[in-house]
Symmetry: C2
Subunit: 355 residues, 2 copies
DNA sequence: CTGAAAGCGCTTACAG
DNA sequence: CTGAAAGCGCTTACAG
């Protein structure tokens, strides 16, 4: 795809409201009370240099004329930025919505504004969104990459901007990265099932090629090994992370050596599996134990309620914002990987082994 | 609260990445190939005035130097804006997250960037967020107001900006407004229950003082009247829109003249009611019919699945963006109220009347 | 303590 | 078709 350098085609711009008065500027304030624009600017920026009396007069005039600061102009002159771009692969997923909300909260507390972009898991849209957002000169970028993102393409769009990746790593990018502790999470879930007396435990769902699935399987294998159990290839079952396919593939658990429990890739898969189990007369939580990952809101109200791993996406959002701000303070530091803790939340779906 | 006119205290700004090269500008391009900045600008803006050959040379140089357009500077000079502020009362609510995602999608398609602000239902935070966002000179604002917002305060923060309100009206504001068809939705749900043979139908949940609850009760009353049934005060039961309180108040349905069905204020309330019913041995969908409002994702997987009203929040987001853009094109037009359609989605919770 | 001047990166009449 | 000049709203040395 040829890079589009034309600024004319895409964006529509909007002129100021027709009827509305022209915005009031520092010049208006300065002229009104007979000081220079410099003085007004110093007052705006809270400089101690200006006479307390002059300051009072300026402040009164600012209020009188309902002055609103043009941060864009100030940023241009100062060569600074007070915005951060936040690009999310799927904002309609409650997990990422919570995350975004945490990012915005933490950023706002520091006086930054969030430039939002959502990509709907499309690398092409992501490319377009990144390009547009970069034209607004954000101080940095928090990116939860769309599935199938290419590091080189992203680099092309973001240049040398300060970037923090969330959730999906893009190797070769050399960017900061915040991820959940996938391995530990799956380890905790598996160990819990072992403690419930299960010995025949499958890992169900996810694509083995994805890094998060790989990490979760590693944690699963680790817990089995610690318990003196071995990983059976028959018990590694792949499935796209949606309910329908998970339900459809649940039969594969009963093809050979039948397990008594399954650690699922995530909650959606676990919910689908529970559906599949129920449809063949196997009652989840009683006849077969199931665990998930994410603690989506449906997990608590499923029947039975789903044992899963809580990741606190809002807190992850705040953390992502913090990490990016640290990066802004020290742009030359080596890229950092941060692993966020996860917590096992035990509910009824992981009942004890029977029989 | 005194208005803070100081620009210094709050925001931290960020200087460009230390190690990184200074951003390349039109001047760099112009100098490199010996044309004026004006010519480069004309190329960038796609002007037909420039010689095809000159254009080619400029474009090649833009690519070579990896030029990125500074839209902020251009907007300053042209006195235009390519951003829209989106302020959401509760981004962690999937309904609003979907809405935001629809807004961003539609805005992005028109070349606008979304300035996000989330207020967590706090009018005070909303005030701060609005003030900050306005300093970034958005072309307009889409606001889903926090509960308890005051029109005068909002006006104070947004001045004469182009505003579209979503979901909650702020009377006295004189702004465009997009709302769901609450009345029609409740009407459809109630009529459906009547068609199922119910004659004793309660309206359960919500605060009577809220406009959305009032509108839904009106639709409910309308359907009853059409069916020759009357509204009984005993059957108007208030409850905060959360599951816990709804479950707790479900007993009130059985205090006097016991109904056989309830139109609920929303899905959350309906889910809580179903819990309350089950706990007293009344099976929802069989012994007692229930309907909700919103079609949150849990509605489809509840037991029994919940009959409700689909509002398609993503489509509402797109619509909100469209409406705001229309407003930008004609800032002096009279304020418009737009009512978005809702659709009845029949599931098992609204079973036929028995006995 | 205050003002005049230059400049951030861009655009737009206006000449030529 | 191209360039010189002015200017968007702000800030920052530099004089005084």
């Amino acid at each position: 795809m040829k890079k589009d350098t034309s600024a004319a085609k895409g964006p529509r711009a909007s002129t100021p409201r027709a009827g509305a008065a022209r915005a009031v500027t520092v010049t208006d304030i300065a002229d009104a009370i007979g000081v220079s624009r410099a003085t007004v600017s110093l007052v705006l920026r809270g400089s101690p240099l200006v006479n307390v009396d002059t300051r009072a007069r300026v402040e009164a005039e600012l209020r009188r004329q309902r002055y609103v600061y043009n941060r864009g102009a100030a940023n241009l002159r100062r060569r600074t930025s007070t915005s951060v771009a936040l690009v999310i692969n799927d904002l309609s997923n409650p997990f990422f919505a919570e995350f975004a909300s945490g990012v915005d909260e933490a950023l706002g507390a520091k006086g930054f504004v969030t430039l939002l972009g959502s990509t709907g898991e499309s690398p092409a849209r992501q490319q377009a969104v990144l390009t547009t957002l970069m034209e607004h000169t954000p101080a940095g970028l928090i990116l939860s990459p769309a599935e199938g993102s290419d590091a080189a393409e992203v680099r092309q769009a973001v240049g040398y901007a300060n970037v923090l990746l969330f959730n999906r790593e893009l190797k070769g990018g050399d960017w900061d990265f915040l991820t959940l502790d996938n391995q530990q999470g799956a380890y905790l879930a598996t160990r819990h099932l072992v403690e419930q007396g299960h010995r025949r435990i499958a890992f169900f769902g996810g694509h083995a090629a994805s890094s998060s699935c790989h990490q979760r399987r590693t944690g699963y294998a680790q817990a089995l090994e610690e318990a003196g159990l071995s990983v059976k290839p028959d018990w590694l079952i792949e499935s796209a992370p949606n309910r329908l396919e998970a339900a459809a593939r649940s039969g594969e658990l009963f093809a050979g050596d039948v397990p008594t429990a399954a650690v699922c890739y995530n909650d959606t898969v676990a919910l689908g599996l529970m559906l599949g189990l129920a449809s063949r007369g196997v009652q989840p939580g009683r006849d077969f134990a199931v665990t998930g990952f994410d603690d989506i809101s449906e997990a608590a109200v499923a029947l039975p309620p789903l044992t899963t791993l809580t990741v606190n996406p809002r807190e992850r959002g705040r953390q992502a914002a913090e990490l990016l701000l640290q990066r802004l303070d020290d742009p030359t530091a080596a890229p950092r990987h941060t692993v966020a803790p996860v917590q096992l939340r035990i509910r009824d779906s992981s009942g004890p082994a029977v029989g």
